[in-house]
Symmetry: C2
Subunit: 218 residues, 2 copies
């Protein structure tokens, strides 16, 4: 950077993490290197080690910066609608930072920023009538479904993803893959977009509602 305002401690963990997130969003996980990030920030490579002990620690901060963005406005209305909105928010955040998902994989993140969403989900579920154990299981399942959906988001644009999938499925030998050959178009349509995500989310919410009714707590 030209003409740094403050000569010392001109950076913060937060600024670095945000710059790293931008870099990763723009150029992919593989583009993230301490050397490149330092150059981008106009600073020597080793300066970064004054803020983060290792690349691993920086990575955790990036994930935290990304998840902190998830909105947790709990709307009025029935629990299904509230939970639905919450998970749509999670998915939107994950979709905005596709490589955040890749960085996150190694271990569960239990930072306060990430747990705001979990807290909101637990509150909705307990108010709906689920006991603590079921609420925890339900939230975890919903989150993992959402996370799974975001993980598999291909880097290509939706139409291109569908087109390639359809072509690959059509190329399968029909005798060995009769169901998939016949449903190539339908299967390809599930590979991108909001619709398949919301379809599965609604089935899951149906299943949760059925449990609540069975337990006589609806």
């Amino acid at each position: 950077v030209t003409g740094a305002a403050t000569p010392n401690r001109s950076l913060s963990r937060d600024e670095i993490a945000r710059a790293a997130l931008e870099l990763v969003d723009a150029h992919g996980v593989d583009a993230l290197s301490m050397r490149r990030l330092a150059t981008e920030l106009g600073v020597g490579t080793m300066t970064l080690y004054g803020y983060f002990r290792s690349k691993e620690e920086l990575t955790a901060a990036i994930v935290d910066a990304a998840t902190a963005e998830t909105p947790v406005v709990v709307a009025e209305g029935p629990w299904r609608e509230q939970l639905r909105e919450l998970m749509l928010g999670v998915r939107r955040t994950l979709a905005r930072h596709p490589s955040g998902v890749q960085l996150r994989l190694r271990r569960p993140i239990l930072t306060r920023g990430a747990l705001r969403v979990t807290e909101a989900g637990m509150q909705i579920l307990e108010r709906a009538g689920f006991d603590r154990a079921d609420a925890a299981r339900a939230y975890r399942s919903l989150f993992l479904y959402t996370f799974g959906y975001a993980s598999f988001g291909s880097p290509l644009d939706p139409e291109e993803t569908k087109r390639r999938t359809k072509a690959a499925l059509r190329a399968l030998p029909e005798e060995e893959y009769p169901a998939l050959s016949a449903a190539a178009a339908e299967a390809a349509d599930t590979m991108a977009g909001d619709e398949p995500f919301e379809w599965g989310l609604d089935r899951f919410l149906d299943g949760l509602e059925a449990l609540l009714i069975r337990r006589g707590r609806a």
Copy 2:
């Protein structure tokens, strides 16, 4: 290697991919390098490039080798049970090759080996009465849930994972995280093991069954 039996073409893509899978299972994704793999195979680094154009291509072959292991025996019995067994098999395979999940993330895999499972799932769903579009959506959702669950499998053993989670949740400020603080034990229990996975799977299957009944095709 001392005294190679055949001097030329002594390797095959398959052998290399399997050796790479072993390396990755034993030492993690980061341990996979062309140089190290070549050394392990007793061969010059560049020899590998005679079989794979790039590390990316090798990675795809590793994922393929891992997914090829998934059993696709479709048991007798009701569709729910069949689908349940199928997804338990997928999860078991993913759990056996934890880093396979990490390698897989970049783009959808559409190899024949991986699609055997999809074909089986589609057949079960269509026989159950779902039309092609719903069968495709249902399978995709089930798969993404399963994949999400496997992705988040922490590298630590289950008890250690639960213990750490509980400690982290107990450390949260109670006023800000009332539901999570109270449900720390229950939430920690959802972080590992088969039970939470099967619980969510059953809720999802409940939701699918409800749809089938609503459409009058049960």
